[in-house]
Symmetry: C3
Subunit: 346 residues, 3 copies
């Protein structure tokens, strides 16, 4: 795809500074960009690369425009978002499967929209439905009475189990499992455990993306819910009956235990966790490897295992590192006190 900087600026409705005729043939990181690439600056860590970048043009925020004076710039209120829009519009060449592959297995009672596509060896079970323009890659699975909305993208080995529902524009990356049984077993010693049948389902709302090999378990009773626009990275574990609000993000290997309620715009960083039956407030941040063992208030940032407010956690760690000094001070006190006692006693 070949375009010009002027065309891109017009598409974005953003301010152009420099040569509107500059030809753009691709996008690249600052380091590897060439004179025909558009690059961008969103992470300030990479600002020092601006000067030496060979990029033909740069997409930057208002406050970075000055640093890049002399370059061809598109100045945006949200350069990262606008870079995403440019890539999607001009440079994302991925072609998804089209049409119905002859090996796909569709039950006679399933409903597949005429504009949907099914790859090789897809399975759509009895009573399932697939919405308009949705694409199911090879080996994807829509269980009995499951429902896939419109414009969804289901990659290989992703599974939507019985009765589970996807909204519109949902993306399931390879190996994502939606609606496997939750981990419910009633102890009955000494014989063992009695399995709690998991008769609920999973409801995934619009615009959710669930990445590779992540799992959202079905409710024991009622639904496990992933709210509109939330994003789950690889290996994220969402246990049965969890309710997730809108636009919350879960980085890789995070895990949420059963029946916990997660608000809107919450961030779980990598390998973090929350115990069961908790409330995690809106906009809370659980930092990497932290483990929330009790409720987290809205807008709080917590760290450590068990998690506490991040500032307290860091102060504790800093104190720990200064313990040898404190011990020296106590030892010195003991020495001086003994001296004084001796003197007094003499």
């Amino acid at each position: 795809m070949k375009t010009t900087l002027g065309e891109i600026a017009a598409f974005l409705g953003a301010r152009l500074q420099g040569d509107a005729e500059c030809v753009i043939e691709g996008v690249a990181e600052l380091k590897s960009a060439t004179p025909s690439s558009l690059s961008f600056l969103a992470n300030p860590k990479y600002a020092p690369l601006l000067a030496s970048s060979q990029a033909g043009a740069l997409l930057v925020g208002e406050k970075d425009a000055a640093k890049a004076a002399g370059k061809n710039l598109i100045v945006s209120p949200n350069p990262y978002r606008d870079f995403a829009r440019v890539v999607a519009q001009y440079f994302d060449k991925r072609e998804h499967p089209q049409g119905l592959h002859p090996t796909a297995s569709v039950h006679p009672t399933a409903k597949v929209a005429p504009s949907a596509s099914l790859g090789a060896f897809c399975v759509v079970e009895a009573g399932a439905s697939v919405g308009e323009r949705s694409v199911l890659y090879a080996f994807s699975y829509a269980g009995p009475n499951s429902k896939i909305g419109a414009d969804c993208l289901i990659y290989p080995y992703a599974s939507l189990m019985e009765n589970c529902l996807l909204g519109d524009r949902v993306i399931l990356q390879p190996g994502a499992v939606i609606g496997a049984d939750g981990f419910g077993f009633a102890p009955d010693p000494p014989q063992g455990y009695v399995k709690i049948p998991q008769i609920g389902n999973v409801v995934v709302e619009d615009d959710v993306e669930i990445q590779a090999n992540a799992c959202v378990d079905r409710g024991a009773l009622g639904s496990t819910v992933v709210g509109k626009g939330s994003k789950l990275d690889n290996f994220v574990h969402i246990a049965h009956n969890v309710k997730i609000g809108r636009h919350s993000v879960f980085a890789a290997q995070a895990g949420i235990s059963g029946s916990t309620v997660v608000g809107n715009w919450v961030t779980f960083a990598g390998q973090s966790a929350a115990g069961g039956h908790l409330n995690i407030g809106d906009q809370a941040i659980i930092t990497g490897q932290a483990g929330a063992g009790k409720d987290v208030p809205a807008k709080a940032m917590v760290s450590g295992s068990p998690a506490q407010p991040t500032l307290e956690h860091h102060r504790g760690l800093a104190e720990l590192n200064k313990l040898p000094e404190l011990k020296r001070r106590v030892k010195e006190l003991e020495r001086r006190l003994a001296e004084l006692e001796n003197k007094g006693g003499a």
Copy 2:
């Protein structure tokens, strides 16, 4: 399914208190229950919901029966277990695939019991066997010379690799991998590593459930064993040559390193871990995110990374939070001592 409270009490052999004719059409959580639902109380956290619940009847323990006086009750010595039994008997409507799907691929030397069912695109390789009444969903895989017992349930994308064995009533949730190679590589610098062929297998005993995307690696030599009745949640990692006893539970994202021996009725909480070549005693509890770096005695509860007895770990964390106070006391001592020294020196 429609039944009466009297019928349910008779099925359970449990005491009925209230209206035996009360019609029950479903099961539900306390909060969402209706007058035709049976609900239950097992977690004391939810006791305050008893009063306001609209449930037509409740399954409760002896000591909670008084709190729910005036309601229709079934009183049970183990309400959680009995709730599971009721759901399984009356309300679990899931229908598994039946018969042999024409697209299933079964090797001529494989043995599939006449009452077993195979979904679309199942693969049963040479020399493999599938027992009576076992159900293999679409896309499940039984490797060469593997053996699946009777009454097993194998969900999509679950794989049983070469020579691995499942007992009876084993459940593999979607994406579970039984018998992939263990992580064995002999360093041979500077060229790299020499792979240790993993020529052992996995033995999964009766009544085990292994949930979505969990992995149990095959032995390097000999077997990796998951003992009767043990339960593995999503993403649990069991390395080569681990031996797990009976009725042990592993919550999501727990990981056990190679050759470790885990006893009976052990609990590994979420994201916990054990190092390699360790012994974890019967009924031990490894709490969430803890990492056992040495043997854990029977009935011990350990926390932290590296793990230590939970009480010590909590005491340590409490002390850490009180360090600023200790520092203030030391500072105050220094001030008073200096004053005294000055006085003495004066």
Copy 3:
């Protein structure tokens, strides 16, 4: 397979001590070995088992040869490596699928080498290529324009997504996902997030093994790289644009965040992690459950979350355990000082 100790010693080019005619029919651990087994000693923890082992012969290092005097021995400079070589040469009986299974789905524009093998329901998409002698098990997936080198082994449900590349002798265990989208979303409140199209790919170099259900995400722009000879255990997460050097190992459930650069011969232990945009130097060791939040120098060993040098981390934990003692000392100082103050004031 039946052979003699003499033949094995000759194959290895290693020193034989004892009966060259000793017949060896298998390999086994020290504990379970029989008079027709070859066993080995690599982990000193198992040295006490040498005396009682029934093994017909032992493969040991130079310094352990004395301890095993009187036994039939092969003495090797690297007994673990040489044991691996013996197993691979004589006792690894696994048979991989051979030929093209009639149900495999190969796009007309794909190129599959004549000596490659494809199992049941394999999918090789448009423009993909599979090299000589590579084996794709049932249900494996080679996406559009992907490339699999020679002598690769791709197990069930392993996927190589669009445009991704495998070198030679690469092994993908079941469920490994190479080239799913990275976790890139630009916040655009209050509407939600805009997905950053992930238009890069993954390059996996020669001799890499990626184990069960592990994920390596494709670059947002440019490539995610796994360098020659590196090994990834089950559930390892490699985020977009990470660059991994040669011969680095990642134990189960380790996770590396986006754009981080990992050197050569680095070790990430189980459940460890590194944040994004970091440098992890050659031969660094990140211990179990540690979380590197900043760069790690070459050859450093780090522990804890956030990670610090292992020695400092252990010292901190030791101090924590001695805090009650320090508190007693401060209390005692307070008592003695008050006594002294009283005396002075009296």
